[in-house]
């Protein structure tokens, strides 16, 4: 069932990258946010 391997692999890769990228973006944002006062954050 080589097909299934590729298909599952594609989904894992795609969602894996999505999760990883999202996590890194948010984490990086949090680390920066600890060093910037809230009144400088235009979205807050």
């Amino acid at each position: 069932m080589e097909d299934a391997g590729f298909i599952i692999g594609s989904y894992l890769l795609t969602f894996g990258v999505v999760a990883l990228f999202s996590w890194r973006v948010v984490r990086h944002g949090r680390k920066l946010a600890d060093r910037v006062p809230d009144d400088e954050k235009y979205w807050a």
Partner: protein, 284 residues
């Protein structure tokens, strides 16, 4: 105004402000992004359910068609991201205001775009292996996607050249618009080139699947899910970049201030405390 420490080390607040940590609580998330994130996760779930479950196998490709339900959305996201980069570049460059917010949006969007083009290329290779028997083909679409990937890597490299934020913004904005000009040129030249090589029926490079009903719906779900994801990502990343720029500026300011303080200490013991004019050192 509350003082804060751009270098991230301990510092003593010089005003009677509240304790530093009380006013540093907010991250890049807001209520809007949390709601958006929730919708994104839910629609991703739907995508998996439909893509791997409900949707039927294809007449020609069998189960391999399921890869398309993630493959197409990722390249869609990339195209969306690059278009936004181009528009944001224009919105930075042309109005007199030259608002850096647009530049940051352009940069954040391009980063996301590059990441998802890479995913597209890899997943596409897996799909190609199943349907064509090969990981890569020099057909118009693949070649163009590969060129797009490299072009925007170049764009990201230009953003990291250094200098002031305005310099970065101007260089990237011009480049962002030039790349957009490139894309139709690349598209036509590659398409014209590879159309000469059509003819192999075994490995049909167009790979267009005749989709109907449930298959189209699954694809649609994927596109929606990834569009929501894009908006969520670009909001977070743009806000983070705003903070990066802010911290950059503050580091520069505090470095200048430290130099001035040194000069004052040096000047004081020698003569009456009359600070030497240091205006000249500020101009850069």
């Amino acid at each position: 105004m509350t003082t804060f420490d751009p270098t991230g080390t301990e510092s003593v607040p010089v005003t009677s402000a509240p304790a530093p940590h009380d006013s540093y609580r907010v991250g890049t998330g807001t209520r809007a992004t949390r709601v958006l994130g929730l919708f994104t996760i839910v629609s991703m779930g739907w995508l998996v359910v439909f893509g791997l479950g409900f949707s039927p196998a294809d007449r020609d490709q069998d189960e391999a068609v399921r890869i398309l339900y993630v493959h197409v959305p990722t390249i869609w996201l990339a195209y969306l991201a690059f278009v936004v980069t181009a528009i944001a570049s224009a919105l930075y460059l042309f109005p007199k205001a030259h608002s850096l917010g647009w530049d940051r949006l352009a940069g954040a969007s391009a980063e996301i775009g590059v990441a998802f083009v890479a995913v597209t290329l890899v997943v596409g290779a897996l799909w190609g292996r199943l349907t064509w028997g090969v990981f890569w083909q020099w057909d118009a679409r693949l070649t163009l996607t590969a060129l797009l990937f490299v072009s925007y890597i170049g764009y990201l490299a230009v953003r990291r050249l250094g200098g002031t934020h305005e310099q970065r913004a101007r260089r990237s904005a011009v480049l962002g618009l030039l790349i957009v000009l490139e894309i139709p040129l690349l598209h036509f030249s590659v398409k014209l080139w590879r159309s000469l090589h059509q003819g192999s029926t075994l490995t049909d490079p167009s790979g267009d699947v005749k989709m109907d009903g449930l298959m189209l719906f699954s694809l649609f779900v994927g596109v929606i899910a990834f569009t929501l994801l894009y908006v969520w990502l670009v909001l977070h990343r743009t806000r983070a970049m705003a903070m990066e720029d802010l911290l950059d500026d503050r580091q520069l300011d505090s470095a200048l201030e430290a130099r001035r303080a040194e000069a004052r200490i040096d000047a004081a013991p020698e003569s009456a405390p009359e600070p030497a004019p240091e205006v000249g050192t500020e101009d850069r």
